[in-house]
Amino acid sequence: MMGLTGSAGCFDAILPYIVTILLISSIYAIFALGLNLEWGFTGLLNFGHVAFFAIGAYTTVLLNLWGCPLVLSIIAGVALAGFFGFLLGIPTLRLRVDYLAIVTIGFSEVLRFILLNEEWLTRGPFGVYGFERPFQDVIPYQHYNTFLLILYVAILVAIYASLERLMHSPWGRVLKSIREDESVPSALGKNVFWYKIQSLMLGSAIAGLAGVLLAFYLQYVSPATFKPIETFHAWIIIILGGTASNRGTIVGALILWTFFSGTKFISRLVPLESHQMGAFRMIVIGLLLMLLMMYKPEGIFGKKEELALSD
């Protein structure tokens, strides 16, 4: 229990925590926004979203270590993530929904094993560090995270605004119609397959960008950072916030990461060892998801009428 005495010092102690929570929330909000485009708006059941997180991060840091200027490395990372979305989509988007889910998770795991085993390329389990970060020579070290926070929030706002504009456009309208029943837009002359590919590419590129931002924050990337659980973090975020609600996705990311970080304080109330705490967190999340599905499946900001899973 932090006393009122020395409250100014207390604030200084908490501030880095808050910055950290907001930073990670922003990164995961961007990551989840990509998935929301694919699932919430287009109805694509992608369980391999973490693969593009990894492709964005690894491509950028490796290129940069090999001498490529940072800006180009970032562009390449995002573009390659989008391109892999395209490659994945071509054979898989004609599959039935549940098969798509299985194949995509397989894809992300295959990628992770490549990252683990191809040491000559990716440094395997040792991971990659020592790459440049934006403006690292200009911003003093103690303020760097604050700078990143401002930058990431700006990027988040830009992506949010773009996605909102897209979803209210005729292009977004076609996606929404595909989400529900693709025979209808097909019968009306829309090339459904091509729209699905576009959605997957854009969602993957956004995930790739999130990966780049994660790399800059952690200053280190390794295959362990990109396990399937990250995909499910994104799923939890979009379900919690309300699928097909971009606003909800951002709020969901904030809630999830505040919860993850906040459980540090719970340990004073709930006497658990740290390894038990991890399991305890997942239990709480599982319970939360169950309650959500039972009482408010549309999530916090979702609209009941637009629930993708209702039938």
């Binding site: 897209l166 456009s169 292009w171 309208r173 029943d181 209808v184 002359g189 829309k190 993708a308």
Partner: protein, 252 residues
């Protein structure tokens, strides 16, 4: 002038011969009715023509072979079909359902959303106006902002038809348009079909409501067990003993 030609089209599902060698020709600007008992293969024939099923045989639309094309390409050639059980997009509003239909919307290309903002906005306004006119005709303007999932069965049927008209097709294939629609509105729809036919649109209509279909059609095709039983004007069909047999159950 011929708009649609179907030559010896077949579709088998395992042992079931849903469509077993059908040949039909439809002239531009006419209404062709399609009747027959349940299971005769009428909807399967519609699926084959619109590309949702693939079988054998030749299908030519406006002079082009379409039997190998995917449904969306056939639709772009100017053919639209409605579904027997209406497929209203229930998670979108009634107006949005209609706005989906018109062809060549610039805003449907992702880059135009930013690069041609004004043009996209202008197009949106134009098609909104046209869509509202269509909604008004079908007397469902008051439902404009309702989610289509909240509509009654009959209203969904109307939405289905309204959406088909919004695409401005050359050939409209309607699957049981009068089922579940009250007689007053059915009469109005018949009038609209007549009006559109005057303007050059061609119709191919599956119906079980014999009085309605004989009133509106120029010619009627009768199907039974996957084959074309006979074809002729409504009067010829009405007095054809084979047709009566097939509808009343055959021998005995």
């Amino acid at each position: 002038m011929e708009i649609l030609s179907v030559k010896n089209v077949k579709k088998h599902f395992g042992g079931v011969k849903a469509v077993d060698g059908c040949s039909i020709r439809i002239e531009t600007g006419t209404v062709m009715g399609l009747i027959g008992p349940n299971g005769a293969g009428k909807t399967t024939l519609f699926n084959l023509i619109s590309g949702f099923e693939k079988g054998s045989g030749e299908i030519t639309f406006k002079g082009m072979r379409t039997d190998k094309l995917p449904p969306f390409k056939i639709a772009r050639c100017g053919m639209v079909r409605t579904f027997q059980i209406p497929r209203a997009l229930s998670k979108m509003t009634v107006l949005e359902n209609l706005l989906l239909a018109p062809k060549t919307q610039h805003g449907e290309r992702i880059w135009n959303v930013w690069l041609r903002r004004k043009s996209v906005q202008m197009q949106e306004n134009t098609i909104k106006e046209k869509s509202r006119e269509i909604l008004e005709f079908f007397e469902i303007s008051h439902l404009e902002d309702e989610y289509a999932g909240a509509l009654s069965g009959g209203q969904k049927k109307l939405l289905e038809m309204a959406r088909a008209i919004a695409i401005d097709p050359s050939l409209m294939m309607l699957d049981e348009p009068f089922a579940g629609v009250n007689p007053t509105l059915a009469r109005k729809i018949t009038g609209y079909i007549d009006e559109l036919r005057e303007g050059g649109m061609t119709f191919f209509i599956i119906e079980h409501d014999i009085p309605a279909i004989t009133k509106i059609s120029d010619k009627i095709t009768v199907m039974s067990e996957g084959k074309v039983l006979t074809e002729g004007t409504p009067d010829e069909i009405r007095s054809n003993p084979d047709v009566l047999n097939v509808y009343l159950g055959g021998e005995g």
